[in-house]
């Protein structure tokens, strides 16, 4: 029943293998994207409807740019999966909003997600590390948040990149959001003695809480340490401009600002995007690179056609690892293509209110 899907997963993972081997990609990006779209049109009722509404004949697809994008909101309203519910191995869910709806991204074969996440994550934040290092997570463990794709991804990193440690020594935020500063201190002290660099992984709001807890104090991390920062604030802490957070983290951890690397991902995708400041001293913060199996385009929010490079549009993301869900996702984030990747410019604002009729943003904000 799943032969076609299995074959597409195999082809998708071949991109990852080639990337890790620094080899040429095994086939054209567009060819695989179009084959995945055909698979999804055959097995995802909603995607077939979307293609029909857009007048797209999937049998005639030649380029990824012709594939209609599935808006992230669709993951909240209906199931976006090319297999029966009973065959889902994991279901990742978006964080809840005040209006309650949570999107769900089910996966039948999570190994494709894992391979891609680990390969590009390793290349972006740990390329120069010759051996395993202590990994500290400012976030909850998978036991606390089992349906978070971010937690899943971080757990992958812990197991693939980290030196042995217990869960309590690794995940330093408990279910109530309390940061275990003592364990943090202990592990940092141990790493300093062993001259081991540390990899710190966490969300923006967790870092803000940490910085607030530290005040003027800091944790001097060993030489070569780096910090991965991801996610928005979602009302969980005060909001801090990216530049300020980066500067404050660098100060608190005594690391260069280039060692603070931002990641951009979302539950609806299987691929992630990273700043490359650790790998290329010429690349600025704020510019995210794609792995060779994903493309981020800036499109006009109304017509959904690409805008010129350098202009701002909505992120239309082609993700070859999304084999059994949506190969093209329309995010709600504004982006701008630049020569080295794309800039992330925050969430697209909803329509401005022109009467007392409530704006979507206001509904979400209540």
């Amino acid at each position: 029943m799943f032969e076609q899907s299995d074959e597409l997963h195999r082809r998708a993972r071949a991109f990852v293998t080639a990337f890790e081997a620094k080899a040429a990609m095994p086939e054209p990006f567009d060819a695989l994207a179009c084959d995945i779209a055909r698979h999804q049109a055959a097995h995802v009722e909603g995607f077939a409807r979307l293609c029909k509404a857009r007048g797209i004949d999937v049998t005639a697809l030649e380029r990824a740019s012709q594939i209609p994008a599935v808006p992230t909101d669709a993951f909240k309203l209906s199931r976006v999966a090319a297999f029966p519910e009973s065959d889902a191995r994991v279901v990742f869910r978006t964080s809840g909003t005040t209006i309650g709806a949570r999107g769900a991204h089910a996966m039948r074969d999570v190994s494709t997600y894992d391979a891609a996440a680990l390969a590009f994550g390793r290349a972006s934040v740990a390329r120069d590390l010759a051996k395993r290092v202590p990994v500290l997570v400012l976030g909850p463990s998978p036991a606390v948040l089992p349906d978070s794709s971010l937690t899943h991804m971080i757990d992958l990193f812990v197991h693939a990149l980290g030196t042995p440690a217990t869960s309590a020594e690794t995940y330093l935020i408990d279910a109530d959001g309390i940061i275990d500063l003592e364990s943090f201190d202990t592990r940092v002290a141990r790493a300093l003695v062993a001259h081991e660099p540390i990899l710190v992984l966490g969300t923006s709001f967790a870092y803000v809480h940490l910085l607030d807890a530290l005040g003027d104090e800091g944790f001097r991390l060993p030489h070569g340490s780096r910090v991965m920062q991801t996610g928005g604030y979602k009302g969980k802490s005060r909001e801090v401009p990216a530049e300020t957070l980066r500067r404050d983290l660098a100060r608190a951890f005594h690391v260069p600002t280039r060692a603070i690397v931002a990641e951009y991902g979302m539950t609806e995708l299987s691929s992630q995007f990273y700043e490359q400041t650790l790998n290329d001293e010429h690349l600025p913060h704020g510019v995210y690179a794609e792995p060779p199996w994903a493309r981020v385009e800036a499109v006009d929010p109304e017509t959904l056609t690409p805008v010129a490079d350098g202009e701002i549009g909505i992120a239309r993301i082609v993700d070859l690892m999304n084999v059994d869900s949506a190969v093209v996702v329309l995010a709600a984030d504004r982006v701008r293509r630049v020569p080295q990747g794309f800039e992330l410019l925050g969430r697209a604002p909803g329509a401005a209110p022109r009467g007392c009729s409530i704006a979507i943003d206001e509904i979400m904000g209540r």
């Binding site: 309203l77 209906s78 929010p301 009467g355 409530i358 904000g365």
Partner: protein
């Protein structure tokens, strides 16, 4: 000096009389209103002839006066509202106080100006701006976005009582016994008023029954909006609204069903799914609700923003509508009685 009820009633009626005069001479205002509201000429005409409260009953005015409170001064900050709304806002302020200053909306100042000038009431004056730092005592009545109201509260602190009337939306509920064509025709009238940019404007319609019934209602609403649209064309739709509509269309094309026309869009959501609120400008999200309990469950997350609740069955509306929402028959959602603020959520 505390004014008696008769005096307050007289002051309110003077405004109603002024509104009648403005409506009668509306030709001189129409082009300005088309320009500032983005409505079509027919949309402006509809606002004057169907939605401006020109014939309130004595009981309505009594209710408005009775609930207006009492203040030495009231500053009214009108902001981003439907163009006929200043009548109610100023009437409430005038019922409350012998001394009212009005700052019209910057986006649409014409109706408020015309109304105040026609009223010729020495107790009401127009200002270009309200200097909040110079206000001591009295009240500020703010109409606008949540952020605007919060900003005013922050700036006046404890010195002044602020009544804030924020943004909201309407929800329609079509009962199991409703004749779909009739309900759709009535709802279409509510949708086209002010191109759905009012806080009473329905943007979500729940249909009690199964998915085919909701879909049939969507078809009936499509026909009704097409017919109403020919009579009252939609006005300007801004780029950001078109962008949000495009996203809504794609989402519903995937998740349910979408009927996209030149002048309106109707989405039909899947059974049991969360309600997706579409942007204003004649976009309606239709969803099935298997039962009254299901309707309550679906609306729970939106309850705080529901200002108006329209239903063909008043008894059902009583059971499902949030306590604070104005309830009315479908077709009358945009014609609230002139008996107090349209928004009955706690303004303080």
């Amino acid at each position: 000096m505390i004014r008696d009820r008769a005096e307050r009633t007289r002051d309110v009626m003077r405004l109603v009389t002024a509104a009648r005069a403005v409506a009668r001479d509306r030709a001189s205002l129409t082009e300005d209103l088309v320009s500032t509201t983005g409505l079509s000429r027919e949309g402006v005409e509809l606002g004057f002839t169907r939605h401006l409260e020109l014939s309130p009953t004595e009981a309505e005015i009594d209710a408005l006066v009775a609930t207006a409170g009492d203040a030495k001064h009231v500053a009214v900050i009108l902001s981003a509202n439907v163009f006929v709304a200043p009548l109610r806002a100023i009437a409430i302020a005038r019922a409350a106080s012998p001394s009212v200053v009005v700052r019209p909306s910057r986006r649409e100042p014409h109706f408020a100006r015309a109304l105040v000038e026609r009223a010729g009431d020495p107790g009401i004056s127009l200002v270009d701006d309200v200097d909040l730092s110079r206000l001591f005592g009295g009240e500020v009545h703010v109409y606008g976005r949540d952020a605007t109201i919060a900003d005013v509260r922050l700036r006046v602190g404890e010195r002044i009582r602020v009544r804030g009337h924020g943004a909201g939306m309407g929800v329609a509920l079509v009962s199991r016994d409703a004749r779909l064509e009739d309900a759709a025709a009535a709802l279409a009238a509510d949708v086209i008023a002010f191109d759905q940019r009012g806080c009473l404007s329905p943007r979500v319609a729940l249909v009690v029954g199964d998915a085919p019934r909701a879909s049939a209602f969507a078809d009936a609403l499509d026909a009704a909006l097409t017919s109403e649209g020919a009579r009252v064309p939609r006005g300007l739709v801004h780029a950001d609204e078109r962008a949000e509509a495009s996203r809504y269309e794609s989402t519903l094309a995937f998740a349910g069903r979408v009927i996209a026309r030149a002048d309106h869009v109707i989405g039909v959501g899947p059974v049991g799914a969360p309600l997706l609120v579409p942007p204003p400008a004649r976009h309606v999200h239709v969803a099935p609700a298997a039962s009254q309990e299901e309707a309550l469950r679906l609306l729970a997350d939106l309850a705080q923003v529901i200002v108006a609740f329209g239903c063909d069955d008043p008894a059902l509306a009583e059971r499902v509508a949030p306590r604070h929402a104005r309830r009315s028959r479908l077709g009358d959602m945009q014609r609230p009685l002139l008996d107090g603020p349209v928004d009955r959520r706690d303004p303080t």
